[in-house]
């Protein structure tokens, strides 16, 4: 007999007979006509009892927080030790405009910084590039050079606050991370003190986000690994990668695929870094993840718990990580933009609050709650404040943060956690059977998986199978006009262009040209690119100039179409 099982076989037998009697005499035929499923297709029983967990081994499968397998959380005291970071996104206009929004949020109680860039910056074009026209300072802040990065973080203590820098692509991560570190060096802040996160995910470059010009997946992946390796050696408090499940989910995946694909990326990265001669324990403790919490409340919580379990298995069993810190998965959560509606936008506050609650019950390390005006534009100051207040209400008024992993032991949540973990492992295997994640991206298979999902889900919305309040369910007879204010972006393009013209006049031409020539030469070597990008940034080479070198040296890749 195994003593670590929660229930002995005699109790379970008795329970089974009582349950059968209950079904026959009490429930009768009232279990509902249809079969119910979670969002990712797991059948839902009407009732969960110890029977579904008959073979559950508490010690090895769930355990204690702060210990492997980390299902119950990555820290022993969780939010009693440190509350999740209130990390609301800021990003619009020029760096000077965005600096004001950062200060506004910090003033209202935000505890971390979260920067989103405009599309030209994300895709590596300067504000004066023709291709940037109409997009400068829209949906994010425009950053062209080191000088802009310095304006963005003006008067912000880099050694006291952590900054999430949502860099999306590895090819721009290496530049923006270089700008951030050079800025710190210029301010005489020791690099050991720099805390923060860059997203740095090659799938953002090659699968999730499309663009007119894309460098090939293997090159993007190489740059992703370069940034991680550089940070492991120089920035001990920096998370150089945030494996991005969020945008996969937003583009179109199930919760299972979201986690599995991000983990497959983590596996490929770890393999590559070990192949380069790094020890897994030197870099793994600083890898982080990014999840999208949608509306299926319990499944999302189970997803968070299962993702920690599977990560721990991978790092311990596959990569033989010795340090337990290498085995604990830390993640940021953003509530689900794709669940928000343009119709009756205030309803989105309710959706986001429920998703935020799930994030806390799932044990997130930091949280961004989306704003109700998401389907219209970047948030107004008022909408951003409602999001921040939602987080604060969850933290101080609901009392959910004061015990660790309160849903553990729920027969349903534990069953779902196990089932999610099983499906995540299976999907990772599917990807590996196709030759691994880079091949899956190169061949377009991954893109097809995502677009198939997006297509089918949209069909379900069209035929009403998937209900969205206000959109295809409880639709108001009288079409409500939106009464919300929509954020208007400050004029940015002209001022960024002026600054660029001035920068190009004033910078030392020789240093600038030399740094770019060396960078170009290093693109075809196996060497880590980061030190050369840093030199170029320091010589005031712009993001677009550095990116142009990458595009020319690495070549362009054709994004899969449908």
């Amino acid at each position: 007999m195994d003593y670590s099982k929660l229930f002995d076989s005699k109790t379970l037998e008795k329970l089974k007979s009582v349950r059968e009697k209950w079904e026959k005499e009490t429930l009768k035929d009232k279990a509902g006509e249809e079969t119910y499923y979670t969002e990712s297709g797991i059948p839902i029983d009407i009732l969960y009892t110890p029977e579904q967990l008959a073979d559950l081994d508490y010690m090895s499968e769930i355990g204690f927080p702060g210990q492997p397998p980390f299902v119950r959380g990555v820290y022993p005291n969780m939010y009693r030790g440190r509350l999740f970071t209130l990390r609301q996104l800021s990003g619009f206009g020029g760096p000077e405009d965005c600096n004001e929004r950062i200060k506004f949020l910090l003033d209202k109680g935000a505890t971390g910084i979260n920067i989103v860039f405009d599309l030209p910056t994300i895709r590596g074009y300067d504000s004066d590039d023709r291709r940037a026209e109409g997009n400068v300072g829209i949906c994010g802040v425009a950053i062209d050079s080191l000088a802009d990065m310095e304006s963005l973080f003006d008067e912000i203590p880099l050694d006291e606050l952590t900054s999430s820098v949502v860099t999306h692509l590895p090819s721009t991560t290496v530049v923006l991370l270089a700008m951030y570190t050079v800025m710190a060096e210029k301010r005489k802040i020791p690099l050991e003190k720099l805390g923060g996160t860059t997203q740095n995910d090659f799938l953002m470059e090659t699968t999730i986000g499309s663009a007119p010009e894309i460098i090939p997946p293997d090159k993007s992946f190489k740059l992703q690994c370069d940034a991680i390796e550089y940070a492991a050696k120089n920035l001990p408090r920096w998370n150089p990668v945030s494996y991005n499940g969020y945008n996969l989910r937003e583009a179109g995946t199930t919760a299972v695929q979201e986690v599995a694909i991000a983990l497959a990326n983590c596996i490929a990265t770890t393999e590559e870094l070990v192949k380069r001669g790094n020890n897994v324990d030197d870099f793994a403790r600083r890898m982080s993840f990014f999840w999208d919490l949608c509306n299926d409340f319990f499944e999302e919580i189970a997803k968070c718990r299962a993702s920690r379990l599977v990560y721990q298995e991978i790092m311990r069993e596959r990569f033989k990580a010795q340090n337990t810190k290498s085995q604990l998965m830390r993640f940021h959560v953003q509530t689900a933009g794709n669940t928000l509606t343009a119709v009756e936008p205030l309803n989105n506050i309710a959706r986001s609050a429920v998703q935020g609650l799930a994030a806390i019950l799932g044990g997130c390390q930091s949280l961004h709650v989306d704003s109700y005006d998401e389907a219209y534009s970047a948030p107004t100051e008022e909408a951003a404040l409602v999001s921040l207040r939602t987080q604060q209400i969850l933290q101080v008024e609901t009392n959910v943060v004061n015990t660790v992993d309160p849903l553990a032991g729920s027969y349903y949540v534990e069953s779902l956690t196990r089932e999610m973990a099983r499906k995540i492992r299976d999907y990772i295997k599917t990807i590996e059977d196709r030759g691994g994640l880079i091949k899956a991206a190169e061949s377009g298979w991954l893109h097809r998986e995502i677009s198939d999902f997006a297509y089918h889900q949209q069909k379900q919305v069209e035929n009403g199978e998937r209900k969205i309040v206000g959109v295809n369910y409880f639709v108001s007879e009288k079409k409500q006009e939106s009464k919300i204010d929509v954020f208007r972006y400050p004029e940015t393009e002209a001022s960024q262009k002026d600054k660029l013209a001035k920068l190009k006049m004033e910078r030392n031409r020789e240093n600038h040209e030399k740094s770019l020539a060396v960078l170009r030469e290093k693109c075809s070597s196996e060497e880590n690119i980061m030190p050369y990008v840093k030199d170029a940034v320091e010589a005031y080479a712009t993001l677009g100039e550095i990116q142009e070198v990458f595009r020319e040296e690495f070549g362009l890749w054709q994004f899969p179409l449908v």
């Binding site: 599309l119 994300i122 986000g209 794709n338 219209y376 677009s451 997006a454 297509y455 972006y489 994004f559």
Partner: protein
């Protein structure tokens, strides 16, 4: 019927969010239309493709805030090529107050996030017929 309706669909400029454009491409194909999806393109290439394909409809998707700059340019370029009869539609995240400006610039209709495929299809059939 709609067998001959030809649609050229594109992500406008640098906008990275392809979900809606791809889903709509496939849903319009289900409605019997011929849809060529271009991926991300700038106005000049979109118009070139519309000419080459003999498009009846050009669908522009953007969630990236460039609708007012790049959207009207597609209409202008089409006009310049003598293709003003081509129906230009937009979709994505577009602030309501910008919609009248887009229509004034010659965008036939803007279909926001909750538009139904049957409404989009009906609109196209009515205008292209």
């Amino acid at each position: 019927m709609s067998q001959n309706i030809k649609v050229v669909m594109a992500k406008l400029g640098l906008d990275i969010h392809w979900r809606g454009a791809v889903a709509l491409t496939r849903l319009l194909r289900d409605q019997g239309m011929e849809v060529v999806y271009l991926g991300n393109q700038f106005p000049e290439s979109i118009v070139r493709a519309a000419i080459q394909e003999g498009a009846d409809v050009v669908g522009l998707s953007t969630l990236g805030g460039n609708h007012l700059t790049l959207g009207p340019r597609v209409v202008e370029l089409l006009k310049k090529e003598g293709m003003e009869e081509v129906l230009v539609l937009m979709g994505g995240v577009i602030p309501p107050e910008d919609i009248p400006k887009l229509k004034e610039a010659g965008i036939a209709e803007v279909f926001g996030p909750e538009s139904r495929i049957e409404d989009i299809t009906a609109f196209i059939r009515e205008k292209v017929a």
